[in-house]
Each structure stands twice: as structure tokens, then as C-alpha cells.
Symmetry: C2
């Protein structure tokens, strides 16, 4: 990029400043969830809104437009110069795509959207607390209308939902997801039926009370075993676990301790560490450009689920770490064999709440939301009918009916935040993860022996080389093909589940 060096450098610097402001915004969020004194919440709201507004201004500024316009045609996004390297073309493509999306949404629309969802989030909290769907319904209606409007502004070919997905999982369309989810749904319902027909595994020893301090020690011990630079990470407590990276060298997670659930903390640590490792292994030399950004929410989720489920729910992992659990809680586990422990943590049991779901039912919760979102966005389903549609689908997919809307259609915050098209990425993450895992296992046929001996670094190396270090070079579709040789499908995930649960449940 020798000829366009000054323009390129100016653009890169501007992009880095947006990224830097965004990382400051992340710290404000992190602090709010971890250490902020409760009384600081109003001032925090002002800080967040001021900084978020400034970032939006920069992203849609004339200066940014001019900088970009020197390197790409603003009508098409095509580079103005020839002879660019592949990486340079990637940067320009992604910069333009983001800019174009932000630019097309009028400031007045963005403000209205943000005000509506901010109010809706507060109302949703009350509605959930008091189990009063009718309180939330008019806000959901407004948010749906705004999302339809957004889809109209951004444009789409087949379905308005496509324009919404685009923000979270750019290579996906509703048609592609529908096809994959259709097959996945069938397989999962079938597997769940078989499990329902067999003897339930015993998990009573997981249901006791577990000392919070010891749980924290255990969580920290596991955290310290995970293959990343201790100097770049930290773990704290918050009401809901999350991961937050300010930079590859400052990538934090939180967990939570529930005294009646030992595994909640452990799996949160594994899940959030998976997210955190992705951010930590982005190439710092490209920091501030799309080459040091995650591909998509689905790929991000694949990294958290890789560590949480494919490793963290596996027998080899616990062959190494179960003794630590036994040592920490001897009275609970002294007489529990690793085989019983392994089966217990993999117990399948349909429940009302997505975030508590096991590996087999988790994607069914997501498919339910996808089907309902499609119907809501297209207008086939009216908001007033949502609770009935939700409960019908729960019965159809999971065989259970939530006793209240609070445990039903009011359980997730996403819609109140205005996020339509987000949910599918949770299931796609599992599919990506299973497919990546097959490639990993092919490359490391001895992975079980190595993991059971406490070796984890080679897993990180595989993920770093094939995913993390590549930033946004490839779309999720390209990345999965490149790494696994096959396009995205449900088959790896279904095989994994079928094999595993045939064994766990002696099907």
C-alpha cells in the first residue's frame, strides 16, 4: 500500500481512535457490573450515553467519510486503487461495510431506537418481575416496528429478517438458517425423545449446598489452568457472567457463584474464558483495524461453547480436574466416581429457561426464538399472541409448558434491547464449534490423552492459528470451510450429540 500510505495511515489512525473510545466504553460497562458503588448508576448512565454518542458521531462523521472516500468508492465500496494485498482489501471491505451501515441509519432513527429500547428495558424488568406480559407488549410492538423500519432502511432481498441478522452474522440469511435449523430441530427432538425413554442419570450429589468461598477458589484454580497469559486477564464476580476485552492484552471475565449450583460457576468460567481467549489472540499488530476484530457473534459463541461444552463437558477434561473438585468438596464427592460425575454434569432435562439448558435442549430454545422472531417480524404473529405461541412451541419442541410468562416469553432481555436476529447466533455457535472440533480432533487424534494429562495449550494453539489470529479476514462461512473443509451444517453437532448421549444414556 505504498502509494496510498498517507491516506491509509490516516484512516487507520481514525479507526484506532474509534476502537480506543469503544474500549473505554467497555471499561465503563465492566466497572458498572463489578465494582461501581450502587449510587453511581445515574452518573454512569450519563457517562455511557455521552461516550456512546461521541463514538456514533465519529463513526458517521464527515471526516471518516472523507478518509474512506479517498480509498474506496462510496457508492459501491470498491477500492479505488489496484494492486492491493488481500489483507488491505479485507480492511477496506470491512471498514466500508461498517461505515455504510452506520451512515445509512439516520441520527434521528438511531436516537429514537435507543430511547425506545432504553425505556423498554426498564419496563421489561418490571414486567418480568411481576409476570405481566401486557405491560411489556406495547413496547415490544414499538420495537418490532422500529426493527421493520431498520430492515427497510438497510435493505434486503428476501425477508426483512435478513437485514437484521446481517448485523450479528453477516454471512447468514433467514433462508439458510431455516434450512439448517429445520434439520437440526428434527434431529434434536428425535434424540430428546430417545433420552426421555431411557433411564435418567443420577445427579443428586450436584444438588447440595456448596460453600461460596471454596467455589471461588475452585473457579480461580481452573481459570489459572486455562492456556492464556495471566498478565492479560482477570476474573471478577458479577450478577451475570460476561467477558469484556478492552484490548488483546486486557481481556477480562466475570463469573457468579450460586451456592446451590457448583457447575454454574465452573461452566461460566469455561464459557467466558473461551470468549476471552478469542479476543486475547487477535493479532495486536493490527489493533484498531478489522484484522483484529472477531468475525461474528456466531464464531465468538463457537469459542465459548468449544471450551464450555466440547472440552468442559468431556470425560478427559474431568479425568484431569475431577480430583480437584473432590479435594475441594470432599463431603460431596468422596464417594462419587468420575463416571457418575461425568454423566451427572451431562444430564439432559428439558427446562423452561434457555440459559440453564443442557447441550441437547439448548438449541431447541434457540430455534423456538428464531421461528417466533421470523413470525413477529413478518407480521404473521401478533405481539398479543406471543405468550400462546411461545407456550405451544415449548410443548412442541421440549414437551414442557412454562407455568408463567416470566419463565416463558419474558425470560430474555434481548428483545427489550431491540436485538432481533441475535438469538440464532447462539445455536450457530454450537454448530461452528462442533465442526471446528472435528477438525481439531482429526489434527490431534491423541487429544483425549493429552487433555486428561492437563495439557490444554495445544487446543488454544489450534484455535489461535485457525480462527483467532485471522481476525475478520474470512467470513464465518469461508472460515468454517477453510478450517473444516465443509460448509456449515448441523451434521457435526448432531453426530457429536448422538455419539455422546448414546453413551451417557446407554441408548
Amino acid at each position: 500500500m505504498t502509494k496510498m500510505r498517507p491516506e491509509y495511515l490516516a484512516l487507520k489512525e481514525f479507526s484506532l481512535s474509534i476502537k480506543t473510545y469503544s474500549s473505554i466504553l467497555s471499561l465503563l460497562h465492566w466497572d458498572q457490573e463489578t465494582y461501581m458503588p450502587p449510587g453511581g448508576i445515574t452518573a454512569r448512565g450519563q457517562q455511557l450515553s455521552l461516550l456512546a454518542g461521541h463514538i456514533h458521531e465519529l463513526k458517521t462523521s464527515r471526516k471518516y467519510r472523507n478518509l474512506l472516500g479517498k480509498l474506496v468508492h462510496l457508492s459501491s465500496g470498491k477500492p479505488k486503487k489496484k494492486g492491493l494485498s488481500r489483507l488491505q482489501r479485507v480492511e477496506l471491505r470491512e471498514w466500508f461495510k461498517d461505515y455504510d451501515r452506520d451512515y445509512r441509519l439516520p441520527a434521528s432513527f438511531v436516537k429514537h431506537f435507543s430511547q425506545t429500547t432504553s425505556e423498554a428495558s426498564q419496563i421489561w424488568q418490571s414486567a418480568k418481575k411481576t409476570n405481566n406480559f401486557k405491560l411489556f407488549a406495547p413496547f415490544l410492538d414499538k420495537i418490532l416496528q422500529l426493527n421493520r423500519e431498520k430492515a427497510g432502511i438497510l435493505g434486503f432481498e428476501d425477508h426483512p429478517y435478513d437485514a437484521l441478522i446481517e448485523n450479528y452474522e453477516p454471512s447468514m440469511t433467514s433462508a439458510k438458517i431455516k434450512e439448517i435449523f429445520g434439520r437440526l430441530r428434527k434431529e434434536l427432538v428425535h434424540l430428546l425423545d430417545k433420552i426421555r425413554g431411557s433411564k435418567q442419570v443420577d445427579n443428586r450429589f450436584l444438588l447440595g449446598t456448596f460453600d461460596r468461598k471454596k467455589q471461588m477458589e475452585l473457579g480461580s484454580a481452573l481459570f489459572s489452568q486455562l492456556p492464556f497469559e495471566a498478565d492479560y486477564s482477570r476474573m471478577d464476580l458479577s450478577a451475570h457472567p460476561f467477558s469484556m476485552a478492552l484490548h488483546p492484552h486486557d481481556s477480562r471475565i466475570t463469573t457468579r457463584i450460586l451456592s446451590d449450583s457448583l457447575m454454574s460457576n465452573i461452566f461460566s468460567v469455561m464459557h467466558e474464558s473461551g470468549h476471552s481467549m478469542y479476543e486475547m489472540n487477535l493479532p495486536t499488530e493490527h489493533w484498531g483495524t478489522p484484522l483484529a476484530e472477531a468475525v461474528s457473534l456466531g464464531i465468538h459463541e463457537s469459542q465459548s461453547r468449544f471450551w464450555e461444552t466440547l472440552i468442559g463437558h468431556s470425560l478427559p477434561f474431568w479425568q484431569c480436574y475431577y480430583p480437584l473438585v473432590q479435594k475441594t468438596f470432599p463431603s460431596h464427592f468422596k464417594h462419587v466416581s468420575i463416571d457418575r460425575f461425568y454423566r451427572a454434569i451431562n444430564r439432559v432435562s428439558p427446562s423452561y429457561i434457555r440459559v440453564e439448558a443442557d447441550e441437547v435442549t439448548y438449541c431447541l430454545h434457540v430455534i423456538l426464538r428464531f421461528e417466533i422472531e421470523m413470525a413477529l417480524v413478518s407480521g404473521q404473529l401478533q405481539v398479543a399472541d406471543l405468550p400462546y405461541a411461545w407456550n405451544d412451541k415449548m410443548k412442541e419442541l421440549l414437551g414442557v409448558t412454562p407455568p408463567t410468562d416470566r419463565e416463558g416469553c419474558l425470560q430474555d432481555v434481548h428483545w427489550a434491547f431491540g436485538d432481533f436476529g441475535y438469538f440464532p447466533t447462539y445455536a450457530l455457535g454450537n454448530l461452528f464449534a462442533a465442526q471446528f472440533f472435528n477438525a481439531f480432533a482429526r489434527q490431534h487424534p491423541d487429544w483425549e490423552t493429552r487433555v486428561s494429562a492437563g495439557e490444554l495449550g495445544f487446543i488454544k494453539d489450534f484455535l489461535k492459528i485457525n480462527i483467532h489470529s485471522l481476525g475478520k479476514q474470512y467470513s464465518s462461512e469461508e472460515l468454517v470451510k477453510r478450517t473444516t473443509g465443509k460448509p456449515l451444517s448441523e451434521s457435526a453437532y448432531c453426530s457429536y450429540l448422538n455419539n455422546k448421549y448414546t453413551e451417557v444414556y446407554n441408548l
Copy 2:
């Protein structure tokens, strides 16, 4: 301000946005000293520099100038409208003063100053570590030159040092300080001589090793007893104790635990809480304007010293809390009477290090720095001769000679940061505090009984009403007259010390 309402509101909003960005900057600093993973330091530097630059841009922006210019004459700072209330005149006076100062310093100068001091701070660290003054000397020379240049740009009547003090203690001049410090110096040297001639108090029981965890518990217990809203505060650990307010409702402190010094933690908690309470009691309804800002560094320091020394080193305070100390460290204090404990924590002993100094010698350390700063700024003293001048003055004022420059003229970071004119505020804080304390004791002649019974809220009420809630309404000079009926002088402080130490040392 009905007629100028829209202009006034626009200015207030702009001022609030500057304040809000500054509070975000504070969070970046707080996090860096408390929880940031060590690897995050480079990214943090970028975040700080970007945000500080943005704040400087806002403060010197044409927009701010235009907003101010609608309300005051930009040549003189005089309000353009008549019939303003006193508070409105205060706001405009302070807004203009700050703006004018920022505006007069050219951006190139500010950048050069910031780069020089940033480099100098790193060099100072190495110089201190390796006890190599010559390494730091050329940087100190540059910083002195820049400070002289700064004084020239900002303007002064008598001495360039006046322009530098102005930033920290606006109602002070070098002449006024010289006069007060001259008398204070004499009194302190005389008192120290008398103490030196008498029997030293026994403090051996304070010299043991104190369990860090128990120290933390004790510190937290004391912190929780101090009279402020728990929801607006928090306490964490850092290498050097500090207080940091993001807003009156989010005002944090840190302490540090040294296993060989029990009182270091306790007095840090008291000192930083004094600062924190000031910020917490600023009037939130004026947040974003000078009416919700501290008067000066000296007044700020008076609040920390009030709690640390006048309360925290007093017999009534320990009559209430010494039993807690005994309970926490029974093996250390079981056989130590409160009288012995009280004398021990008030032991006077000249040392090399300012931050470890007792009440009698502390101001002598500050006077030394003031006299040296004056001589350096005026050119009477050359940087190369600083170590000799330092040691001579140490001998003259405190009767001791530091064995190394690391324990001498390299001990403080202030000069490396570019801060000339800052040190005097540490001593002024003690003088203000003693004078405020006299007024407080006149109003509450029963303070000793109440404090020994654990009552502390009425102290806070006095400080809140007379100081905290007034923001920048009065200059430090006006404030001290208004609260105590007398102009600032050393006499209250000297009487306090003479009375107290006559008793402690049976002089």
C-alpha cells in the same frame, strides 16, 4: 438568569460534558491502579492520552469560547448582563478563569509539556531506583524551563512562581506563603528542638508484624464507621493510597497494607476518606458547574488532614476505636494501655521521607520543598546543585541528612510530573485544617465526649455545611475567614501542636 436562560443552559450542558469526560478519565486512572491486568498498560496509555486530548480540545474549543462569550466579556471576564445572582456570578467567574488559563497555553506548548513530563516520569523512576540524580537532572532542567515559560505565558506580578501556584491554590502568592512559612518554620524548629530534648515515647509495640488480612478487616471496619453513604463509596487496594471521585455519588478510596506498619493503612483510610467526603458532599444539583467543585488543593488537603490527624490522631477517637485494634491484634496490644498507644501513634521523629513524617516535622518537609522550588524557578539554584541544597536544608530544618538522593531530592514524583507550586498546598492544608478545627471545637465544645462515644456524623455535618456544600463559591482565603472569622495564618496549627505535644512529651 431568566433572560439568558438558553445561553446559560447551553454553557452548563457543555461544562457538564467536560466534567463527564473527566470523570471517565478518572475511572481509567482508578482502574489502572486497582484492577487492570498488568499487560493492559500500553493500551491504557493510549486510552488516557486520547481522552485527555479530547477533553483539552473541548476546553479550548471555539464552541466553548462562543458559549462563554455570550455571557462574559472575553477580554476581562466581566459578565455581560446585570442583575445576576451571586451564585451565577461565581459560576461565570470560575468558568472564565479556567477557560482563560487553558486558552492562553498554546496547544503546541501543552503537547510539549505533556511529552516531556511523561518521559521524565519514566526516567525519574529509574533514577530513583538506581539512586542516580544525574540521570534525572537534564529532565528536571527541561521541566523547570517549561515551567518558567508557562509562568511567562500565564503572567505574574512579583514572581514567576505565583503563576504556578495559581493553578493549585488560587488565592495564594509566593509572598504570602513566604511570610506564613517563615513564621511556621521558626515555630516548628523550636518545638522539634524541645521534643528532641525530652524523653522519646515508646512505640515498640507498633513495630511488629501485622497480619495483612486482619489489617484489611480492621481498615474496612473503620471505613464503615466513617460518616458517609456506603452506597456512594468503596475501598480497594493499590500500591499508593489515593481517593478518586467520579461523581458525588461515586467517590472511591484506596489504601495499602504494609505488614510492618499497622498505622499506615489506618491513617491512609482516614486521610483518603477525608478527601472522599469532600467530593461526596459537593452539591449534586450543581454537578457540572464550579459550584460543585472543590475550592483548591489546599482546602482539599485540609479535609484529608482533618480526619487523618485532628480526629484520627486524637485521644477521643481512639477511646472509641482502640478496643477494636486490641481485639483484632490481641497479642500485640493486650498489655498496652490506650495512653501508651496514643503517645506511640503521635511519636515525633525526624525522618528523610515526607510521606512518613509525623505532624510536627511534616510541614518542615514541605517548607524545604517550597524554598527549593522558589530558588530553582528564579534561577538562584542550579539543578546540578540540588542534592547539596536539599541535604543542607534537611540538616538545617530537621537535623538529619539523607544517606542517598533516593531518600532525598529524588523521593517525590511531583517535579517529574511537571508540578511546581503544588507542594505548598500540603502544608497549607494543615493550617486550614487547624483553623477549621478551632471553629468546629468552638461550635461543639463537647466534641471529645461525642467522638469518644463513636459519634462522627456531626463532624461531617460541620464540614459539609461550612465547606463541602459551598463548592467554589468562596476562595480559600474567603472561606477560611467566613468559617473561622480570621484570615489564614499558622497560629491555630502552632497552638494545636504546642498544646498537644507539650502533653504527649511532658514538655
